[in-house]
C-alpha cells in the first residue's frame, strides 16, 4: 500500500510515465486525426513530458512542491502540438495543486490531479469533448471519488487509469471525426499511457514494449505482398519497375523486422521509409496511367480527396514570445483570426503560441510587435497528412481479412477469373496434380484471413478439402463445388461484407442452379451403355454420363448443350481449354448463339488441360 507521495516518488512516477509513453509513441502517432492530422501527437507529448522529467531530475530542491513546479514550468517550454500544450497545462495545474507541500496523501494527490485537468481545460480556447481534456477530467474526477474512502495511492491510480481507458474508448462516440477515422483520440490515448506508466512502476511491470512496432512493420510487409500479388495477377505487363521497387521495399522492411529486438523503436523510422517508397510507386503508376491497378489508384485518390476536404489551414505554427506584460488572452484572440486551434499559454514574460494557419508570416510579424520571437516551428501539415493517410491505407489494405476464399483451379484462365470474382488464393493449375491435404492446409495457413471458405471445384478434391478444414486452427468451411463453373456460381453469391456462415449459405444456394458438362477426347477404347467409344473419339460428359460422342469437339459441344438446356435456363457459358484455338472457340460461340437466340451465351478462356470445353448452363 502506498500511503503518500513525495518529491522523489513523483520524479520516479513521471519518469515511468515518460518511458511508457515513449514506448507507445508510434501507437499514439498513428491515432492522430483530430483536430487536424498532425500525425505526431505521441512524439509531441513524449517530448513535452521528457523535458519535465529531465528538469525535475536536475533540481536541487527535492521537495514535492519544487519538483512539481519545475516539471510544470519546463514542460511549457518544451511542449509541442495541441496535445503537448494541453499536457503541459495539466502538469502546471498539478503543480499548483501540490504547491507548498512536501508530501501528500491519496486525497490531496487526487485533488492535484483534478486541478491539473481543470487547468488543462482553461488553457484551451474552445475545449472540445472527446479529447485528452475529457479523458483527463473524467479520470481525475474518478480519482477524487475513490480517494474519499481509499488511502492507497496505487488503488486510486488504478481506478483513475481504468476510468481514463473507458472514457478514451468512448471518444469516437463524442467526436464524429474520430468515428469516421476509426480511431480513439490520440491525445487521450497519450494521457492513458501516462497514467499507465506510473501504475506499471508501482506494479513492477516492464516499461517498454516492442510488439506494436513489430506488428506495424509486419503489416507493411504484408501490404506490399498483397499489392504484388495484385499486380502479378492482373493483366499488366509494363510494370517491371513497380515490381522491382515493391520487392526491394519488402526486403528492406523484412530486414528491419529481423533486427527489431536490437533496434526497438528506431524501426518506426524504417516503416516511414517504406511508406515513402510506396508514395514513389504511386507516382510512377499515376504517371504511366496504369488504370488497371484499381486498388492502388483508389488509395491515391482517396488520400487526395480526404486531404482536400479536411485541411483548411496548412501550417502548424509554433513559437515563443519573450516580452513584458504579455496579454495571453489577447494574443490568442489575435492568432485565432489567422486560423484555428489557437492556443497561447505561459506567463506575462513568456508566451508559448500555437496556431494552425495559412499565413505563418503574418502571424510571425504580429508576434514580433510584442517582443522577441523565438523557437519558431512551422510544419506543413499537408505533407504530414498525406504520409499519415498513406500509412492508414496501407494498414487497411493488410488488415487481416475476416473471410478469405481459396479456390482450386485447373488453368490460368480459370485462375484469373476466380481471382477477379473474389478468390484470395488459388490452388493448383494446369500442370499440377490435385492438391493434397498438406497443400490445402498450407494455403489455408498462408491466406491472410481469420476464416476461410474452400471451393474445391472438383468432387475428387472435396474430401481432402474437408480434412484440411478439420485440421486447421482457423475456422474453415468447405462449399462442396464439384466443378469450376459451380465455384464461380458460388462466388457470384459471395458477399465480402457478410460472415462465413452467411456466405456458406449464400454460396450453397447457388450450386443447385448450375449444370456443368465437359467435352474431351477419349483416351482409350471404352464401352458405355449404348456407346462404343474408340480411342481418339470426342465425348460429351454430363451428370457423370457420356451423353454424346462424335469426331469434332465443336459438334460434340453443340450436341451436349442440347442435352443440357431445359426450359427456364437463361445462360450458356463456354470455357475453352488449352488445346482449343480462340478462333475455333468463337466459331462455336456463334453457332450456339444462333441455336439459342433467347439465351445469353458467353465464352471465356479457361485454359484447362484434357477438356476442350467445359460448359455450364443455368
Amino acid at each position: 500500500m502506498i500511503k503518500h507521495c513525495n518529491g522523489r516518488r513523483l520524479i520516479k512516477a513521471l519518469s515511468a510515465s515518460n518511458d511508457w509513453l515513449s514506448s507507445k509513441m508510434e501507437v499514439v502517432n498513428n491515432l492522430n486525426v483530430f483536430p487536424v492530422p498532425d500525425g505526431d501527437t505521441g512524439f509531441n507529448m513524449s517530448l513535452t513530458l521528457k523535458a519535465a522529467v529531465e528538469t525535475a531530475k536536475e533540481l536541487k530542491d527535492r521537495d514535492l512542491s519544487s519538483i512539481a513546479k519545475g516539471a510544470g514550468e519546463s514542460s511549457i517550454m518544451a511542449s509541442r502540438g495541441c496535445s503537448g500544450v494541453i499536457l503541459s497545462q495539466f502538469l502546471v495545474g498539478l503543480a499548483k495543486g501540490l504547491e507548498g507541500k512536501k508530501r501528500v496523501e491519496a486525497k490531496e494527490l487526487a485533488q492535484a490531479l483534478f486541478k491539473g485537468a481543470e487547468n488543462a481545460y482553461q488553457g484551451v480556447r474552445e475545449p472540445i469533448e472527446g479529447t485528452i481534456l475529457t479523458v483527463a477530467q473524467e479520470s481525475a474526477k474518478k480519482a477524487l471519488e475513490i480517494a474519499r474512502e481509499e488511502r492507497d495511492i496505487a488503488q486510486v491510480l488504478r481506478e483513475a487509469h481504468k476510468k481514463a481507458q473507458e472514457v478514451l474508448e468512448k471518444t469516437p462516440e463524442m467526436l464524429p471525426v474520430l468515428k469516421d477515422a476509426g480511431v480513439v483520440d490520440a491525445g487521450g490515448a497519450g494521457f492513458v499511457y501516462i497514467l499507465e506508466g506510473a501504475l506499471r512502476l508501482i506494479e513492477g511491470k516492464p516499461l517498454e514494449e516492442v510488439s506494436k512496432i513489430e506488428v506495424t512493420v509486419a503489416k507493411t510487409v504484408n501490404a506490399w505482398r498483397s499489392i504484388l500479388v495484385g499486380i502479378r495477377g492482373g493483366e499488366l505487363r509494363d510494370i517491371k519497375e513497380v515490381e522491382t521497387i515493391a520487392s526491394k521495399t519488402i526486403q528492406a522492411a523484412k530486414k528491419r523486422l529481423s533486427c527489431l529486438p536490437l533496434q526497438k523503436f528506431k524501426s518506426a523510422t524504417g516503416t516511414r521509409r517504406v511508406v515513402g517508397t510506396w508514395e514513389k510507386v504511386l507516382g510512377i503508376i499515376q504517371k504511366r496511367g496504369l488504370l488497371d491497378i484499381k486498388a492502388v489508384r483508389t488509395t491515391a485518390q482517396k488520400a487526395v480527396d480526404t486531404w482536400e476536404r479536411e485541411i483548411k489551414y496548412k501550417y502548424c505554427t509554433e513559437f515563443l514570445i519573450k516580452g513584458k506584460d504579455l496579454a495571453l488572452k489577447k494574443i490568442e484572440d489575435e492568432l485565432a483570426k489567422h486560423g484555428d486551434c489557437a492556443i497561447v499559454v505561459g506567463s506575462k514574460e513568456l508566451a508559448k503560441c500555437h496556431v494552425h494557419t495559412n499565413e505563418p508570416d503574418k502571424v510571425k510579424k504580429y508576434a514580433a510587435t510584442l517582443g522577441e520571437v523565438d523557437k519558431v516551428k512551422i510544419n506543413d501539415m499537408d505533407k504530414q497528412h498525406q504520409t499519415l493517410l498513406m500509412e492508414k491505407e496501407v494498414g487497411e489494405a493488410v488488415r487481416v481479412k475476416e473471410l478469405g476464399i481459396i479456390a482450386v483451379s485447373t488453368g490460368e484462365g480459370w485462375s484469373k477469373i476466380l481471382k477477379s470474382m473474389g478468390a484470395d488464393e488459388i490452388l493448383g493449375g494446369p500442370k499440377k496434380l490435385k492438391p493434397s491435404v498438406e497443400d490445402i492446409s498450407k494455403t489455408i495457413e498462408e491466406t491472410e484471413a481469420k476464416n476461410i471458405i474452400l471451393l474445391p471445384n472438383d468432387g475428387d478434391i472435396i474430401p481432402a478439402a474437408e480434412k484440411a478444414a478439420e485440421l486447421s486452427k482457423k475456422k474453415v468451411e468447405v462449399v462442396s463445388t464439384k466443378s469450376i463453373p459451380q465455384g464461380l456460381a458460388a462466388l457470384m453469391n459471395y458477399n465480402p461484407e457478410a460472415g462465413i456462415e452467411e456466405n456458406k449459405e449464400f454460396m450453397n444456394q447457388a450450386l443447385g442452379r448450375i449444370k456443368t458438362g465437359q467435352v474431351a477426347k477419349a483416351a482409350r477404347i471404352a464401352k458405355y451403355r449404348e456407346f462404343k467409344i474408340r480411342k481418339g473419339e470426342i465425348i460429351g460428359l454430363y451428370r457423370k454420363e457420356v451423353k454424346v460422342k462424335g469426331k469434332k469437339p465443336q459438334s460434340v459441344a453443340l450436341d451436349l448443350i442440347k442435352e443440357m438446356v431445359k426450359e427456364g435456363d437463361s445462360i450458356i457459358t463456354l470455357y475453352y481449354g488449352r488445346g482449343v484455338r480462340t478462333k475455333r472457340a468463337n466459331q462455336l460461340l456463334s453457332q450456339v448463339k444462333e441455336k439459342y437466340p433467347n439465351l445469353d451465351v458467353q465464352i471465356y478462356f479457361g485454359g484447362q488441360p484434357h477438356y476442350y470445353y467445359i460448359i455450364s448452363v443455368e
Binding site: 470474382m421 445462360i571 457459358t573 458467353q602
Partner: protein
C-alpha cells in the same frame, strides 16, 4: 390545397405524373460532364443525358445544391402561405453539403417555417419517403406529422441497385464497400445495397444476367421483411432509361414473390450519374 408544401431534390426516382399530381417542388442538382453543366430533367432530358454519358469518355459528376436555390424556393412557397418540409438526400458522409444548404437556407430567411428531413438515403427509397409525405400533406396533416412520416418511411427503406457498369459508381465517388465487386473478368451485374443510416454502399453479390440480378434483389428484400417482420412492401423501381426490360422483369418477379401494396415504375434523372448505363434499382419500404 395542402398547407404543407413538400420540397425535395431530383434524385428521387419518382415519375413525373406523381410529382405533378402531388405538387412536389423538385430542385435539380447540377451535373457536370466533360466541363459542361446540366440539370438532368430540366435543361436536358434524362434520355439525352444518358446518350451524352455513353458517348463521352469521361465520367459525370453531381454537385451539391446551394443555399440560394433552396432559399428561392422557400420564399416562393412562403409567399403562398405554406409550411415547408424539405426532404433531402443522405447527409453525413454521403452528401452533407446539400443537407447543410437546406438548413442554412431556412435559417437565413426570417420566419421561415421549414423542417428539413435528412433521409440518409438517396434515389428510389427517398422517392418513397417523399411520396408518403406528400400524400400525408394532401390529407391535411401538420408539418410535424408530415416530416415524421418522411423520416419514418426512410428509416424503414433501402435501395438495391444493379450496376452493369459499376465504374460509374466508383468514379462518382460513391462506391463505398461495394468496391469489392469491381474488377470481375466475367460479364456480370454487380448488385449493391444502400441501407438507411449506414452511409455506405455495401455489396450484395452479382448476377450473370437480369434474371439472376432480380432474383438476388428479391431474396434480399425477403430476408429484410423476415428480419423486421414486415408483411408487405411498397416499391419504387426504375432503370436509367435504357433497360426497361430489367424493370419490367423486376416488377413481374415482385408480383410473383412478394406481397406489394404498391409498385411504382419511376424515372431516373441525375441518378444516372452513379448508376451508369444499363443500371436499375428498387427502393422498398417495409410497411409496418
Amino acid at each position: 390545397m395542402a398547407k404543407v408544401a413538400i420540397v425535395t431534390c431530383c434524385p428521387n426516382a419518382l415519375p413525373d405524373n406523381l410529382l405533378k399530381e402531388l405538387e412536389i417542388t423538385m430542385l435539380f442538382h447540377p451535373v457536370t460532364l466533360e466541363g459542361k453543366e446540366y440539370r438532368v430533367g430540366e435543361t436536358i432530358s434524362p434520355e439525352d443525358f444518358l446518350t451524352e454519358v455513353k458517348a463521352s469518355k469521361g465520367f459525370p459528376k453531381t454537385a451539391a445544391m446551394n443555399v440560394e436555390r433552396f432559399a428561392e424556393v422557400y420564399r416562393k412557397l412562403m409567399a403562398e402561405g405554406k409550411s415547408i418540409v424539405n426532404i433531402t438526400i443522405a447527409g453525413g458522409i454521403f452528401s452533407q453539403p446539400t443537407v447543410d444548404a437546406a438548413r442554412e437556407a431556412a435559417n437565413k430567411i426570417e420566419g421561415a417555417d421549414v423542417t428539413v428531413v435528412n433521409t440518409m438515403l438517396i434515389a428510389h427509397p427517398m422517392g418513397l419517403a417523399v411520396l408518403e409525405a406528400a400524400r400525408a400533406a394532401r390529407e391535411g396533416k401538420s408539418k410535424d406529422e408530415v416530416a415524421k412520416i418522411a423520416q419514418e418511411v426512410a428509416s424503414r427503406s433501402a435501395l438495391i441497385m444493379a450496376l452493369p457498369n459499376l465504374e460509374y459508381l466508383h468514379r462518382g465517388g460513391r462506391i463505398g464497400k461495394a468496391r469489392a465487386l469491381l474488377g470481375s473478368l466475367m460479364k456480370v451485374i454487380p448488385i449493391a445495397i444502400l441501407r438507411y443510416g449506414t452511409q455506405t454502399v455495401e455489396p450484395l453479390g452479382r448476377g450473370r444476367n437480369i434474371q439472376q440480378a432480380n432474383q438476388k434483389m428479391i431474396e434480399t428484400i425477403k430476408a429484410d421483411m423476415e428480419k423486421s417482420r414486415a408483411k408487405r412492401i411498397k416499391a419504387l423501381i426504375a432503370d436509367v432509361g435504357d433497360n426497361p426490360e430489367a424493370t419490367e422483369a423486376l416488377k413481374e418477379a415482385l408480383k410473383k414473390n412478394i406481397d406489394c401494396e404498391e409498385i411504382i415504375i419511376g424515372k431516373m434523372r441525375c441518378e444516372i450519374v452513379h448508376l451508369g448505363p444499363g443500371g436499375w434499382g428498387i427502393g422498398y419500404y417495409l410497411v409496418k
